[in-house]
């Protein structure tokens, strides 16, 4: 067990109804009690109970915020230590004030991920679960939370175990052929092994395809809105934000140059880049110049390029259209309420495959179609099924890729006529790579499999 007590704000920073400050460690309850005023001392309450009260400043006893305090004693807690969760009013000021009191009452500020680390060190969760929890904490929308949740509950673990089971069966068959050459078991042929390996390869590939979607859920689609002044960028931003309530405002580091805003589009988090730029100057191109906007556009996952239905294509429009040609972009023709002066055919010729949506922000028309187009573009037409398994963790993705490479090596070896017991090395590697995802690679499994699958003896 760790000896010190840590605390941190455990809800996303930003304007929200409620924020939670979590305290964990041997002193957690005493620390909280020092700044808590309620019916009972927190030191006396039962575990896993919630208490209404006030947080007061420890020096003068002035009330800071009305709160609900949840007391959970070791070991049935997330970290297996004593844990106190203080739910206070959202908003930076009260949350910060409560946190400061907790810290001055004897806790220390937790490092990023330290709660999860304690849960892991104290044996509460395994490695894959720990990583999923970190993703859970970082996840941006409900659906992203669900993906992280499923992983925590072992959906990914189960899938990986299935794959490993298939490989293990083949390995056991091979082992019996090798260790009991005279035993009258069916010989594993290259053909059978090829078929089995290909099936595993396909399933890993499929799993990896979900990785891209997983990344979207975790990190959001980095989106840039561009267009000439007064084309309606800020209206689009507001429309997206209004319909889909922005849930997180992120202010990275000390610089306020670039502000990112998250909006939830049908369950998919859109990370809108440089929204401040749009709001303040109404024009990225004007403000930072075509050169620099070029850079901003290159880093984007999605570009929303706005054109004005009531204006013919300008030189700036053409520059922008050229810039986004090789990127994932949606061209939004706004101001459909104005008389047409834009040649839509000309635009279509310039944008190639990118979808074109027509809107009128003033009349609130076309936003639905735009949202559909976004889902279409990133989820391959179908809105993601809620029960699909997404691989969204970088370590998992790299291990899956490694396993797939190893399976492919095996397939190549079999096709080249390499003895199967040598190809086994690639299969076993794949089995181990998959095992590393769930923190489990025990060779003893193989021996058990051999003896349960085959009847051997002298």
């Amino acid at each position: 067990m760790e000896t010190d007590t840590i605390a941190a704000i455990s809800t996303p920073v930003g304007e929200a109804g409620i924020a939670v400050i979590r305290v964990s460690g041997p002193e957690a309850i005493r620390v909280a009690d020092r700044i808590y005023k309620g019916k009972k001392s927190l030191n006396e309450v039962e575990s896993h109970t919630v208490h209404y009260g006030t947080i007061v400043d420890s020096e003068q006893g002035n009330p800071i915020d009305e709160v609900l305090v949840t007391v959970m004693r070791s070991p049935r807690t997330f970290t297996r230590e004593d844990v106190v969760e203080i739910s206070c009013h959202g908003g930076m000021v009260p949350v910060q004030a409560v946190l400061e009191e907790v810290l001055s009452a004897g806790a220390r500020l937790a490092e990023p991920g330290e709660f999860t680390k304690r849960a892991f060190v104290n044996g509460r969760i395994d490695l894959s679960q720990a990583e999923a929890v970190i993703d859970l904490i970082r996840s941006k929308t409900d659906r992203a939370a669900r993906v992280a949740m499923q992983q925590a509950e072992g959906r990914l673990s189960r899938l990986i175990q299935e794959l490993r089971g298939e490989i293990l069966e083949t390995l056991a068959h091979l082992a019996v052929n090798v260790d009991y050459p005279e035993y009258d078991a069916e010989q594993l042929t290259g053909e059978i092994m090829l078929k089995k390996s290909r099936r595993v390869e396909e399933r890993i590939t499929h799993l990896l395809q979900t990785a891209r979607q997983g990344k979207i859920y975790r990190e959001g689609i980095g989106t840039v809105i561009v267009g000439r002044p007064n084309v309606g960028k800020s209206s689009l931003l507001n429309a997206l934000a209004r319909e889909n309530k922005a849930i997180v405002t992120d202010i990275p580091g000390t610089t306020r140059d670039v502000i990112e805003e998250y909006v939830n589009v049908r369950g998919i988090p859109l990370r809108l880049v440089d929204t401040a730029g749009i709001r303040e100057t109404e024009d990225v191109v004007e403000r930072i110049g075509v050169e620099r906007s070029h850079q901003a556009l290159e880093g984007a996952d999605l570009i929303l390029l706005l054109l004005n239905y009531g204006d013919p294509l300008s030189e700036d429009d053409k520059k922008l259209l050229k810039m986004v040609r090789n990127q994932t972009a949606i061209v939004v023709v706004n101001k459909m309420d104005l008389p047409q002066r834009l040649d839509l055919q000309e635009v279509r010729n310039l944008i190639g495959e990118s979808p074109l949506i027509t809107t009128s922000m003033i009349r609130e028309q076309g936003i639905d179609q735009l949202e559909e187009a976004i889902v279409d573009l990133f989820m391959g037409g179908k809105a993601a099924a809620a029960d699909a398994t997404y691989v969204s963790n970088a370590r998992h993705i790299s291990l899956l890729k490694q396993a797939r490479k190893q399976i492919r090596d095996a397939i190549e070896g079999i096709e080249a006529g390499v003895p199967l017991d040598m190809v086994e090395i690639d299969l076993k590697n794949a089995w181990q790579s998959l095992g590393e995802i769930i923190g489990d690679a025990v060779a003893e499994d193989l021996i058990d499999q051999i003896f349960s699958q085959f009847c051997l003896g002298k």
């Binding site: 395994d126 490695l127 090798v178 050459p181 199967l420 590697n429 021996i447 051997l456 003896g457 002298k458």
Partner: protein
Amino acid sequence: MPTSGDEFDVVVIGAGHAGCEAALAAARMGCSTLLITLSLDTIAYMPCNPSIGGPAKGHVVREVDALGGEMGRNIDKTHIQMRMLNTGKGPAVYALRAQADKVLYQQEMKKTLESEPHLLLHQNMVERLLVEDGVCRGVLTRTGAKYYAKSVVLTTGTYLRGKVIIGDLTYESGPNNQQPSVNLAHHLHELGFETVRFKTGTPPRVNKLTVDTDKMEIQPGDEEPRAFSYETKEYITDQLPCWLTYTNEKTHEYIRDNLHRAPMYSGMIEGQGPRYCPSIEDKIVRFADKNRHQIFLEPEGRETLEMYVQGLSTSLPEEIQQPLLRTIDGLENAEMMRTGYAIEYDAIVPTQLWPSLETKQVANLFTAGQINGTSGYEEAAAQGIMAGINAVRKVRGEEPVILDRSQAYIGVLIDDLVTKGTNEPYRLLTSRAEYRLLLRHDNADLRLTDLGYEVGLISEERYRRFRKKREAIEREIHRLRETILKPTPDVQALLRKLGSSELDQAVELAKLIKRPEVKIEHIYQWSPPAEPVAPEVAEQVEIQLKYEGYIKKSLQQVEKMRKMENKRIPEWVDYDQVKGISAEAKEKLNQVRPLSLGQASRISGVNPSDISILLIHLEKGRQSRASS
């Protein structure tokens, strides 16, 4: 004969396959050695199957030979047939197996022991160890003699509190009705050793004159002469065949009808039997849907008509065994000469041993063979030679020799035993080895001869020959890497004939040989070596080049393993003080006391997260120690 009070460098108890190797190794390394056995007539006795070798086991025999052990040489002189198994597979799993003439095998080994300088062979029963302050000082025999030793090697086989079971009959006995060792078993308990009860079994034997081999499939030896030892130059050409037949529905029905009399199912047997060596009744029950099982008839020797019925291990009552035999094709008139039986015995829990095979409980005491929970002659011999070597090194105050998992099957075997323990008699399998591509049958000498020489078991002359071979291999590999083959019409024609694609440009021979259909003979047709290359050299060159890519992959894995293996766990670690590791892990770590993080990571019940925490703990400890 030794006189009570005599002092030796090493005393070895038991002259089975472990004891013989241990005693020979100790004596050959120059230590005065006493080998005490219950009976001089059961030296190197094979109480079960008359064969040595096979996958993994044959590899081990080659390894024992490369280290300077005796098993390989002995079976080369006394077999009735040899076969290379798995020849249709890759070279890593080729496996040599010999059928032994049991009596000759024993006689030959006995003569070797008798002729060994520094080695005294003596018949007696050891009842106690002389232990002072946790250090073993010698042994006490039933006749009251005390023999003192700087190191003692204990190889009790299945004799410790041995109990034979045949149907509902049980009696105290060692294998094949030898006298069991009872007092020593109790003494080991007094010394604080934790033991387990294991079970193994053996099938009935029949008279060859009553076997109708016409109804069976012949299993001859290989025509090509084979040998286990790298030193063997004379080959036995006159071989005897084995025979294959099958059980059938009649057999299975008869067994099912009498299952209630099988001790396995009446609850008579408490010992844990091995899964890889189930009795026939066990096979019928566990694999009910299999409609026949293989039965091999194997001669027990040249000068006897007794045959071993492999596949029919049983502890059913005696009166059921003969009728059971007679349900099998070719055995309709079989006369049973010996009854099959199960035997229970004590083995010590092998996690009580250091990787040197010295016990943690009693210093200077080493154990090897079935007492450590293994099964098999080869596994016993492997531990025997290592225990012998390390007993001597202890006498001399030298560091023990510990083979790692990438060096030898012997390393896999001992590491598995002392790290994971075993809950059934342990048998080596190729699938237990992570790096079996490196642990090939063909390269045991390349892996271990240096070590055998270093410890003093390989003669100067043999070592010189070995180095010559190694250099020849390296030279030839170099030549094939440097030699370029041009796509001449001759070359293309032969490639076409082999079903291999033609060359589109000149290619190194070392690359061309990677094609599965191109053999070293073909390479030599195109580019004969300047001097003739010995076949064993050509074999190495071919394997090392052909499978280079796969061998490299294995070597990369070994590198990874070595990193963990090189992280030693220092003496000061107190697992109870390590915060955050699970209670189970703590218990196991305290029991095994692993020498490295690598070994710790292989303990069952110790999770990767425990290892991470341990790693952090060690690092913190090292830092605070360095600063204080």
